[in-house]
Symmetry: C2
Subunit: 248 residues, 2 copies
């Protein structure tokens, strides 16, 4: 006759595990001795080992009882199911590993390499890190919702960078955000340039259902200076950030 501790030791589990199996009905409660101790027999050792064998193989406890009672056919079928589940879990973790590998390479929010490349170009042009962070946030939102489309927008964005006036705009804005207290002439220069570019060409509109309001809000959240610029633009008849429209 065995105590619960010796039983557990034979099967290589903890006492708590044995009691848990009693609780869920996986292992029947044995007789008690006069002092209330559980007393086990050799058959319990075998039963417990069988349970552990299946549990170690990844079978959920809730299915083990059925498996032990199943015939060869049911057993084989259940084994199939469990193997498929394990395979799925492995696959999920493998994609996770690829994901975090990409995260380690890029930044914290896995963007497609094309976007990463576009951001790199901006940085090389001397655009401020603050502006870059805002750009990246915008792309993060877009990439989350349209992961396949964003990469198709990139060539046009890169082509736009050929225009030295746009580059100059970016640099002026960089100066504005990095300078503690930019004078009004800088802001005026930005607005002039922006208005000129807008007047010249309608921006290519990549789609109607895109969350421009959200991206605009993102820009506005950058701080009071952004709002000031927006106000100045509105005075010249333009509204919005990511899709400017003529107003008034």
């Amino acid at each position: 006759m065995l105590t619960i501790g010796r039983l557990a030791a034979y099967a290589g589990v903890t006492i708590r595990t044995v009691r848990h199996y009693h609780q869920v009905g996986l292992l029947p409660e044995p007789e008690r001795d006069a002092s209330g101790y559980r007393r086990y027999g050799a058959g319990d050792v075998v039963a417990l080992i069988k349970i552990r064998t299946l549990a170690d193989a990844g079978v959920p406890l809730s299915e083990i009882d059925g498996l032990l009672r199943a015939g060869p056919a049911g057993f084989a079928e259940a084994v199939q199911r469990i193997d498929a589940r394990l395979a799925g879990e492995i696959a999920r973790r493998q994609t996770s590993r690829e994901q975090i590998a990409r995260l380690a390479a890029g930044d914290v929010a896995s963007l497609p390499p094309e976007v990463i490349d576009y951001l790199r170009r901006l940085r090389e042009l001397g655009v401020s890190e603050r502006i870059l962070a805002g750009e990246r946030d915008g792309w993060i939102i877009m990439a989350a919702r349209w992961p396949d489309e964003v990469v198709t927008w990139i060539p046009a964005k890169i082509a736009q960078l050929q225009d030295p006036r746009l580059v100059r705009l970016y640099l002026l804005m960089s100066e504005a955000v990095d300078d503690g207290a930019p004078d009004d002439s800088l802001l005026t220069g930005i607005v002039d340039l922006l208005a000129a570019l807008l007047a010249e060409a309608e921006w290519t509109d990549p789609g109607e259902d895109l969350p421009f309001d959200l991206l605009d809000a993102l820009a506005d959240e950058a701080g009071p200076r952004a709002e000031r610029l927006r106000q100045m633009m509105r005075e010249r008849g333009w509204d919005g950030w990511t899709r400017q429209r003529r107003v008034s």
Copy 2:
């Protein structure tokens, strides 16, 4: 300004998930409007997407906050840790798959192939399934505790099967357990044969710390007939099942 539902939709998560992140402090609670609704900004969308990116990559929620605040070095180190954890989980599940593959082939309690082979030989000799089940249970106990040693005992066991008297003993016992009410002459024959074999040669003793008492108990749990046999053996001066000793 976004409601919780729209925020959740942007990030591709459920409302419950967003609230959970608030609860654990992963995402800061936003302002409320007059009616108590949470109002989110675009920055929250970005923050939530970043969180989900890491969570989808298998990062535990408790580590995500630290990761988002970490510098490149800390980030890389954390990524290393998480990747190692994922690799471990994958490895565990792969061994699980191998395990259940073996279970599907053999029986419910993965025994080493040598033992499976030994049991197959017994079955081919015509030994009863009931006896076989008992034998298998015994081997299960042994294999659980001495997985490496059991395979070394098998050759001797197989060699013993060359003795036609031992085979005959097995068959007589099979008859005894399968027959509803075996007559005493059958039991006497078993005891005679067993005593003769014992008298002739000491069984090879595979080790001192083996749980003979447990195996004996296992045999006894087979039912009253086993106890009867043991009693008859004791009358002839032998005790125990798996390691018989002379008594008196």
